[in-house]
């Protein structure tokens, strides 16, 4: 086949597929969100979801969770990635173990941490084992909002640090070793090497990792459903509730667009903060 046409033939399936299942639904969801019962365009759906009493709480919860979880994950992933880059023995084994959560769904992660935090769970067993408490406490209730928050945050950190780790390890692998050798020659400390070489050179990977993570953080849903249930409303959970419990797909679409808007906003902010100067990439 003609080499001029061939690439287009090869990308045609993906393009068609994404048009039908990505761009088109995107148009549909906007139509639904901006539509109203009388037809025509309106902001009724948005007004409705924003003025609902649960909206400020779920927005606050989602943002707070992202604000706590993502920085911890970033620090942890950076630490793990630098640790593994110096490792000689057992590197593959350690990396395998650290990336296991990558394959674990958010629902399963929620259930795993439920095994620890539920009333007859392992945390209570340990606490009573060392004599701190004499009977099991019910930790995940509305009286202990901070423990619910902590359990969800820990489950998220446990589950989703791996994706950042993988991206950062791959990124560190791309940094030429000569830079570190030169730094050694000039007597730079390990910390200085990290702040002056690793961190700036890692900017493209940090960008990818953060964008991906932040978007997923706003989509948090099943971990919360497994651990907090209705105790800890989040945006995605409310979207689900609009669709199924309240059978209001217009409002659900409006919620979806709000989540989308927040995601895009934060993506742009991250890209701006960590922008890679032209010609400075590896």
């Amino acid at each position: 086949m003609n080499a001029r046409i061939l690439p287009y033939v090869l990308i045609l399936p993906v393009t068609l597929f994404l048009c039908v299942f990505f761009l088109y639904p995107f148009v549909l969801v906007s139509q639904q969100a901006f539509g109203s019962s009388e037809g025509g365009w309106s902001l009724d759906n948005f007004r409705e979801v924003v003025s609902y009493w649960k909206f400020p709480i779920s927005l606050k919860n989602t943002l707070l969770l992202a604000a706590v979880v993502v920085p911890v994950q970033l620090a942890l992933a950076l630490l793990m990635a630098t640790m593994v880059s110096k490792m000689e023995k057992g590197r593959d084994m350690v990396l395998y173990i650290w990336t296991i959560p990558l394959g674990i769904s958010d629902l399963a992660a929620g259930i795993i941490w439920l095994a620890i935090f539920e009333q007859s769970g392992f945390l209570n067993s340990m606490l009573s084992g060392i004599g701190v408490i004499d009977r099991p406490m019910n930790l995940l209730t509305y009286q202990n909002p901070w423990i619910v928050f902590l359990a969800i945050a820990l489950a998220e950190i446990w589950r989703a640090t791996a994706i950042m780790l993988v991206i950062l390890v791959a990124g560190i692998g791309l940094i030429p070793k000569e830079y570190y050798e030169a730094a050694d020659v000039f007597g730079a400390s390990k910390w200085k090497q990290f702040t002056r070489i690793t961190f700036p050179m890692l900017r493209p990977s940090l960008q990818t990792a953060l964008v991906l993570r932040v978007i997923l953080a706003f989509e948090i849903f099943a971990v919360v459903a497994a651990l907090g249930g209705t105790l800890f409303p989040v945006l995605m959970g409310e979207t689900y509730a609009y669709q199924f419990d309240l059978l209001n797909s217009g409002a659900a679409a409006a919620m979806a667009l709000i989540i989308l808007g927040i995601s895009i906003g934060f993506t742009l902010i991250i890209l701006r903060i960590l922008r890679v100067p032209k010609g400075a990439s590896i």
């Binding site: 650290w98 990558l102 099943a222 249930g229 989308l260």
Partner: protein, 279 residues
């Protein structure tokens, strides 16, 4: 201070630094494994033990919970649905994604930049949200509540990865190999099937497995798009409020097992695929 004590001190700090390093590696490994171990204990305990207190830290190897799981109405069907959807996703995302990956690695063509942007855009979107309008579209086309319909949505999730991974895999194979085959009388197609494909097959398998896991783990779209034919994640989510603890834990464990195997199978490719996808 003499030189000797200075040397002593530096080996001392190096030694304690080494101990700290090993200790943190071990701690971080335990941080990942111990929660999974707790889930394993609960899964391998009888329902009574799961609901009792305090917990033992050693599994009693009782299959009561797993039996209850298998006997719970609809659970095995849900498990079967999950596998079917994941397999469909796997096949579709590779069949649709791999040609594009090949095109990106081998050709420079007008519109390539735009195409890459479209692929990257899909990755930057909260895609499961698109399941909401698709639910309506599927009802109109009769795809609602079918494994195939859900697999289509999961393929949208998996395709950006399939394209980027196969792109990096094909880029790793020098075009000279193909050119040599052409001079020896192969057509573009036979050169591809006889030279490139055998070399690329393990990598393709890895990215297929990755697509499987994406679909297997997806909760939101699955819960939105299936009603009667629930997948395992959707089924567990729907019954979270009502189901007893031992059912949740056994279900969670069944969800985790493939993940352990799959990550082990693809571990060699895990890093290669992100190294190139970054740029």
């Amino acid at each position: 201070m003499t030189d000797a004590t200075a040397v002593d001190m530096s080996t001392d700090t190096r030694k304690s630094g080494r101990i700290l390093y090993v200790a943190s590696v071990v701690f971080l490994c335990a941080w990942v494994i111990v929660p999974i171990y707790f889930l394993l204990i609960n899964t391998l305990s009888s329902p009574e033990t799961v609901n009792s207190f305090p917990k033992s830290f050693i599994p009693e190897f009782d299959f009561g919970s797993l039996q209850f799981f298998a006997g719970f109405a609809g659970m095995l069907t849900a498990l079967k649905n999950s596998v079917i959807v994941a397999l469909l996703t796997m096949v579709m995302s590779i069949l649709i994604g791999a040609p594009a990956g090949y095109a990106l690695s081998r050709f420079d063509f007008p519109g390539k930049g735009l195409f890459r942007l479209l692929i990257l855009l899909t990755r930057a979107f909260p895609l499961p949200l698109l399941a909401l309008p698709l639910a309506v579209m599927f009802i109109q086309t009769g795809l609602d509540d079918t494994a195939f319909g859900l697999a289509l949505v999961h393929t949208t999730l998996a395709i950006p990865f399939a394209v980027l991974i196969t792109f990096s895999l094909f880029s790793g194979i020098p075009i000279e190999l193909e050119e040599a085959a052409w001079t020896l009388g192969c057509t573009r197609l036979t050169a591809f099937t006889k030279v490139v494909l055998p070399l690329i097959l393990p990598g393709i398998t890895a990215s297929a497995i990755f697509a499987f896991v994406i679909s297997w783990n997806e909760v939101f779209a699955a819960a939105v798009l299936t009603i009667e034919n629930r997948t395992l994640t959707a089924f567990l989510l729907q019954n979270l409020d009502t189901s007893p603890l031992h059912l949740k834990f056994a279900g969670g464990f069944i969800l985790v097992v493939p993940a352990l195997i799959f990550i082990f199978a693809v571990r060699k490719y895990l890093f290669a695929m992100w190294g190139i996808a970054n740029r």
